[in-house]
């Protein structure tokens, strides 16, 4: 059959072919024409072809004109002397198969519209194939799901070449269905295992795609019966694995473990750690399996340790994890960069939790307070506003540590007895020292900081100051606060200005010139 060039012509031709194929089996060879358009370069034509395929095979699946059961190879059937009907069905099933493969390839197409269309078509096929299974059920009520087809979909999504975050966000809608989620988890675990086996050097894109997909999976919290299926089922049975949250959890765990098994890039590592405590750990069947992962991350040092802290805390708090030298490591995490990292608020929130116990030894708390005070000497004002109340809270919680700010009959010392280089808080001699740093910070240029540091001049008040609102304080907020303090009188400089750089003895004039 002939067709005019251009997408318009293609559409008309495709419509004709579709009608022909659906009308009589004699015209079945038009399928080849349709599939040929699927290979076209023009995205407009490809989209038309995909739509036509969707209609064609959708109709065929509903009519049951595709071969059901183990598919024999095409040649054997054609050569064989079976009935024409069976030949036709097998032949059509092969066409269907090649169409699905092509659609899977189209998931990597350059145009997003084509990708989206291919994905939705494939998902439609998944649904139809689920209701009209192409396998023979082995027994009554056997749960059948087009796993092969679904694997094709996931394989397309987890491409190692292209970033599919947009497509994945489309796919996310389907993840609300329980069966899709379950099979996604299974298929993803398979795919991850396969990729790692095949090739030790996996591209960053693949990992990013995988992470986007994995983090999109979220399980329901409570264990009600899962019956929200994408593939409509007549009577959901309790015997099916899909219907149990426990099975889902297992699949979830398998998926994440297969993901975390690999050596991940650092940025992804951080991303995983950020969501560990609240998206991964609660849904695991056996959260303790993550201990190794988290403790190795905690040992890594730097920002990764800070992030691992959160997961570890959940494990220690809820799953009885015993972590040797935890506080020593926490102490080790305190270095000057702590006030400048992105996860400052999270870290201090956790540190506050860890140090909230009143059963901690005084030397430990004193070491923490002293260390934080030392670090405060390099901190920006917004961090100081948070850490100064933090230190004061420590002193309030542990009255034994109050000697740090109040030592009435202490001897005068030549040097600070505190040893900042010592890694063991027990040996840092913090209890013998005093918080002179806070005294220095009373001369800080920012009035709020100066006020916060001056708290130690008086006896500390009993109630603790909540640092929660101060955790997320940024310099910009501080700036806005100062700007919006309402109308106040504006004092003026009384030394008249002489020029941009000021007077002769000013610093700027000494070091800078205008020319």
């Amino acid at each position: 059959m002939e067709r005019e060039p251009g997408p318009e012509g293609a559409r008309r031709a495709l419509g004709r072919w579709l009608e022909a194929v659906l009308a009589s089996r004699g015209q079945a060879n038009a399928v080849f024409d349709i599939l040929a358009v699927l290979q076209s370069e023009d995205q407009e034509e490809v989209r038309e072809a995909v739509r036509t395929c969707s209609r064609l095979f959708g109709a065929l699946l509903e009519r049951g004109e595709l071969f059901v059961g183990q598919l024999p190879s095409e040649e054997t059937v054609m050569a064989g002397s079976r009935g024409a009907m069976r030949k036709y069905q097998v032949w059509m099933r092969h066409r269907y198969h090649s169409c699905c493969n092509r659609l899977g390839e189209l998931l990597a197409h350059s145009s997003f519209q084509v990708k989206e269309l291919a994905l939705s078509t494939l998902m439609k096929f998944v649904q139809l194939e689920g209701t009209h299974p192409l396998e023979k059920p082995k027994w009554e009520g056997n749960y059948l799901f087009p796993r092969k087809l679904f694997k094709v979909v996931l394989g397309g999504l987890l491409s190692p070449e292209e970033d599919h975050s947009l497509l994945l966000s489309q796919f996310r809608e389907h993840l609300e269905y329980d069966d899709i989620r379950y099979h996604t988890m299974q298929a993803a675990a398979d795919a991850l295992a396969r990729v790692a086996d095949r090739d030790p050097e996996v591209s960053l894109t693949f990992w990013n795609n995988a992470f986007t997909l994995l983090s999109a999976v979220s399980l329901p919290r409570q264990g009600r019966n899962l019956s929200n299926f994408y593939v409509p089922r007549s009577g959901p049975s309790d015997k099916w694995k899909v219907a149990h949250l426990r099975e889902h959890r297992k699949a979830f765990q398998a998926m994440w473990l297969s993901f975390l098994k690999h050596k991940l890039p650092l940025s992804l590592y951080k991303k995983v750690l950020v969501i560990t405590h609240d998206a991964i750990l609660p849904h695991m069947a056996q959260p303790t399996l993550l201990i190794d992962f988290l403790s190795s991350a905690y040992d890594l040092g730097g920002a990764v340790s800070l992030l691992a802290l959160n997961g570890l805390f959940v494990l220690m708090h809820k799953h009885n994890l015993e972590y040797p030298d935890f506080y020593r490591k926490l102490y080790g995490l305190l270095d000057p960069s702590i006030f400048h990292v992105k996860y400052r608020a999270r870290f201090f929130h956790l540190a506050d939790l860890f140090l909230s116990s009143s059963h901690l030894p005084a030397y430990l708390v004193a070491a923490f307070a002293k260390r934080l005070a030392r670090l405060a000497l390099t901190a920006p004002p917004e961090a100081l506003l948070m850490v100064l109340p933090f230190i004061c809270n420590l002193l309030r919680r542990h009255p034994a540590c109050r000697v740090l700010v109040h030592r009435p009959q202490g001897p005068e010392l030549d040097a600070d007895p505190y040893d900042p280089a010592e890694e063991d808080p027990a040996k840092s001699r913090a209890l013998e020292s005093c918080l002179w740093e806070l005294q220095a910070l009373q001369r800080h240029y920012h009035p709020e900081v100066s006020k916060a540091a001056s708290v130690i001049n008086q006896v500390l008040s009993v109630p603790e100051v909540s640092i929660a609102p101060l955790l997320e304080l940024t310099a910009y907020e501080l700036f806005e606060q100062d700007l919006n303090k309402g109308p106040r009188p504006v004092p003026l400089e009384f030394v008249p200005a002489q020029g941009l750089l000021g007077r002769q003895d000013d610093l700027c004039t000494q070091h800078f010139t205008l020319s």
């Binding site: 000057p336 920012h446 941009l500 070091h511």
Partner: protein, 857 residues
């Protein structure tokens, strides 16, 4: 006893009516008229208003009132004519008696005037005195008349008064008798009499008038005759007349002088001119006071109380923000033989800053402006159209000019220069574009002059809107400064001079100036914050932000504990030092400038800046080769290793040898031109030198801080590394050596901290809690408005009832009156009927008697 009581009671009763007649005599009410409403229960706090009353008295009063008003009205109900008092303002108590008379007189005059013919145009109003025309009096000819009049009038008036004011019935009677005798027996009615009188008086008046006219005519004729004769008599008389006429308009010069002197303002006593020492002393005193205030703010002690204190406001304050803190009037004073026109220090400085050139310009301007001298419009190129307003605007300019300074030759020169000269007045720009168009393309001096002139022409004391205009000008100038700084290459010299203008504007309007500076800072911070949110770090902003920060430091006191502008600026600088990574040599220059600014901000208050120490550490680290750092840790934005971690390292020995220490140029901050490697290396070394000297400054400043050693430990480690490295020029090595020794010399004792002893907490005192007790009878449990509303409703109800009661009583009174009227009428009729019956009976009786008599006969 009973008798005595009765007697007393009687006495009182007899006294009562007199009391009642006297009206509401509250002093001693008749006890028999007093009605006491006995209360069954005493209720605390209730006000009783009606416990004692005088029903009889009040009833009598009500009746009296009704008879006076209602009854009167009732009786006059069918009468339509009314008596109206048309005297002007008779019942108006607001007008005083004199005023009333004046007004009445005016009205009378008006009426008098109106009556005259409207077609008679040149009839002037006649001035009168005691009802006589002044013109007539002047002629002195009616004295005789008046005399004669007086006689006649006297007699007539006697008659008249007698007839008018009936008192003379005796007088009238003889006359009527006379008239009877003259005219006949019929007695004339009063009306006729009066008409006659009027006719008579009119006739007399006419006669008198005719007589007067005759006399006038005669005198005029006589005058004319005399004049004719006079001309014959002598020639001189007309001349003398002329001279008299002339003399009048031209008064004596001497008299004029005397009068002028009398009215001239007396010289006001002024303050003695101050000597040099006194002026200096005063200045010193002022500075000392300001410094003390600054110190107080720096410590931030009485921040709040200072804030709470309300500003004194005069009752006459228009609330327009105008403050007469600096007296605008100037005392005339001389200095070195020249008039000292500038009093304010800043004014003087401005004068100095703008230099001799501007002074010259101004003096030239004066000659150009002089209305006598300026012969062409060239000096007022674009403003020639409204010279008047211009001159008004130029007043302040003229103040500053010493008169008579411009010689003729200079004036000539000036006129030539004037064609290329700037206009002398500028309208204040309404938008930034306007200002920019005014300033762009001019030389630095001209720009300054333009700004200065705008400022002078729109001084707030000149017009109402000028304050707002100048406030805007500050914002525009600030924007302009920013633009100049972002230009390539930046025009720093102009900024340098404009700062002075900004300072003076800021001194005039601190509030609005601080607002515009805040706006600029907020802009810069906002930009940075957006970048940080998007990328996690921000690039160091352009030179304009740095310049703004510097200007903040110049305009506002940086040592305050809290300052509405300076504190945000400090936070902004802290952001610059902590969030902006150093990526190029240009960034290093900018960063060092910010450090320098930061240190300058705290130079007086000696406050501690953690970021700054970090930053200098990072900068100095860049000057060392990367290796495993010992004893110090770099924090954000610096990295121990990476692309820019050796930015300031100079490896070329030759460049190190040829380097000479010099200041950094701010121009480098906006963009480094293509340089040779040597130049770049020299800049690097200069940066290191600046870093080191800033560090030294810090070390000296913070040496008193309690944890000085903890702060400087990393620096010390780094400096020793520097020294070990030995790749730096001698000068720098010496500098670092001196810093190190400075650090080590600083031995300090660590005194253990102690808290201040707090006062013992006093026992809790249970002061009674005062609750408002709601009074009985008040409507309770509702909001104030609701209560108010209820009160109003209640009042309305009571008033309504009262009104109804009054109306009812009125009706009763009226009905009573009508009844009594009817009764009276009936009684009258009965009486008349009876009378008639009586007379008829007597008639009948008489008639019957007559009849009987007849029959008898």
């Amino acid at each position: 006893m009973g008798k005595a009581k009765a007697a007393g009671a009687r006495r009182k009763a007899s006294g009562a009516p007199s009391g009642a007649r006297r009206g509401p005599a509250k002093a001693c009410p008749n006890p028999f008229e007093v009605k006491v409403n006995r209360q069954k229960f005493q209720i605390l706090g209730r006000k009783t208003r009606h416990d004692v009353g005088l029903p009889g008295v009040s009833r009598a009063r009500a009746i009296r009132k009704r008879t006076q008003t209602l009854l009167k009205e009732y009786k006059e109900r069918d009468k339509s004519n009314v008596f109206r008092d048309k005297r002007f303002g008779e019942y108006n108590s607001n007008i005083s008696a004199e005023e009333k008379m004046m007004k009445r007189f005016a009205l009378e005059q008006q009426r008098h005037h109106e009556k005259k013919s409207i077609y008679n145009l040149n009839e002037d109003e006649e001035l009168t005195h005691y009802g006589q025309s002044l013109a007539d009096i002047e002629k002195h000819n009616d004295i005789v008349d008046s005399d004669s009049d007086v006689e006649e009038r006297g007699t007539l008036s006697a008659e008249l008064t007698a007839s008018h004011f009936g008192g003379g019935s005796r007088l009238l009677h003889p006359k009527t008798f006379q008239q009877e005798g003259e005219e006949g027996e019929q007695p004339k009615s009063r009306k006729e009499l009066i008409e006659e009188l009027i006719a008579k008086s009119k006739q007399e008046k006419r006669e008198r008038q005719a007589q007067r006219e005759d006399a006038l005519e005669l005198t005029e004729k006589l005058d004319q005759d005399w004049k004719e004769i006079q001309t014959l008599l002598s020639h001189k008389t007309p001349k003398s007349e002329n001279r008299d006429k002339k003399e009048k308009p031209k008064p004596d010069a001497y008299d004029m002088m005397v009068r002028e002197l009398g009215f001239e303002m007396k010289a006001q006593p002024s303050n003695r001119m101050k000597t040099e020492e006194e002026l200096a002393h005063e200045e010193q005193e002022r500075l000392r006071k300001l410094e003390a205030e600054r110190l107080r703010r720096m410590l931030g002690k009485d921040e709040d109380e200072n804030f709470k204190k309300p500003k004194h406001m005069s009752a006459d304050d228009l609330n327009d923000g105008f403050v007469l803190d600096k007296d605008d009037r100037r005392l005339l004073s001389y200095k070195d033989g020249k008039m000292n026109v500038e009093e304010d220090v800043q004014e003087e400085q401005r004068q100095e800053a703008s230099g001799d050139k501007s002074e010259e310009d101004e003096s030239e301007g004066s000659s150009g402006e002089d209305p006598e001298e300026s012969d062409g419009p060239e000096s007022h190129s674009d403003l020639a159209s409204d010279v008047e307003s211009e001159e008004e605007n130029e007043k302040p300019e003229k103040e500053h000019q010493s008169p008579g300074k411009a010689s003729i030759t200079r004036g000539q020169k000036a006129r030539n220069a004037a064609s290329t000269e700037l206009p002398y007045t500028f309208a204040a720009p309404e938008s930034y574009e306007e200002l920019r168009s005014l300033l762009s393309g001019r030389s630095m001096e001209e720009q300054l002059l333009v700004v200065e002139r705008i400022q002078k022409c729109n001084h707030p004391s000149l017009a109402v809107g000028n304050k707002a205009k100048l406030e805007k000008l500050f914002g525009f100038l600030l924007e302009y400064v920013g633009d100049l700084a972002t230009d390539d290459p930046p025009d720093l010299r102009v900024i340098d001079k404009l700062v002075v203008q900004l300072y003076s504007l800021c001194q005039m309007f601190p509030e609005s100036a601080s607002d515009s500076v805040k706006f600029v800072l907020r802009d810069a911070m906002h930009e940075m914050e957006e970048m940080i949110e998007n990328k996690g770090r921000a690039a160091l902003p352009g030179l304009d932000v740095l310049i703004y920060l510097k200007i903040v430091g110049l305009l506002f006191p940086t040592s305050d504990f809290w300052h509405p502008v300076v504190t945000p600026a400090l936070v902004c600088m802290s952001q610059l030092l902590t969030k902006c990574p150093v990526l190029s040599l240009q960034d290093v220059v900018k960063g060092l400038f910010v450090c320098c600014l930061f240190l300058e901000y705290v130079s007086l208050s000696q406050r501690f800046i953690p970021e700054l120490v970090n930053y200098i550490l990072g900068i100095l680290y860049m000057a060392t080769p990367n290796k495993q750092s010992q004893g110090y840790a770099l924090v954000h934005p610096f990295r121990a290793r990476g692309k820019n971690s050796e930015l300031l390292l100079v490896s070329d020995r030759e460049d190190v040898a040829t380097w000479q220490r010099s200041s950094l140029s701010l121009r480098w901050a906006s963009g480094l031109r293509t340089q040779t490697a040597t130049e770049a290396n020299h800049i690097r070394l200069s940066c290191v030198a600046v870093g080191l000297s800033l560090l030294k400054h810090c070390v000296l400043m913070y040496s008193t801080l309690p944890s000085f050693h903890a702060i400087t430990t990393p620096l010390r480690a780094l400096l020793t590394e520097h020294l070990v490295d030995c790749s730096h020029p001698r000068e720098l090595q010496e500098l670092s050596q001196s810093i190190l020794t400075e650090m080590e010399n600083q031995k300090q004792l660590h005194r253990p901290l102690t808290c201040e002893k707090s006062k013992p907490v006093p026992l809790k005192l249970f002061t009674p809690r005062l609750v408002k007790v709601l009074e009985f009878g008040k409507k309770q449990g509702s909001s104030k408005e609701e209560q108010e509303r209820k009160k109003l409703i209640h009042k309305h109800k009571r008033e309504f009832k009262g009104a109804v009661r009054e109306i009812r009583k009125d009706n009763q009174f009226l009905a009573r009156m009508q009844l009594s009227e009817i009764m009276e009428r009936d009684a009258e009729r009965k009486r008349k009927v009876r009378q008639l019956f009586n007379s008829l009976a007597t008639q009948e009786g008489e008639w019957k008697a007559l009849k009987r008599k007849k029959f008898k006969k």
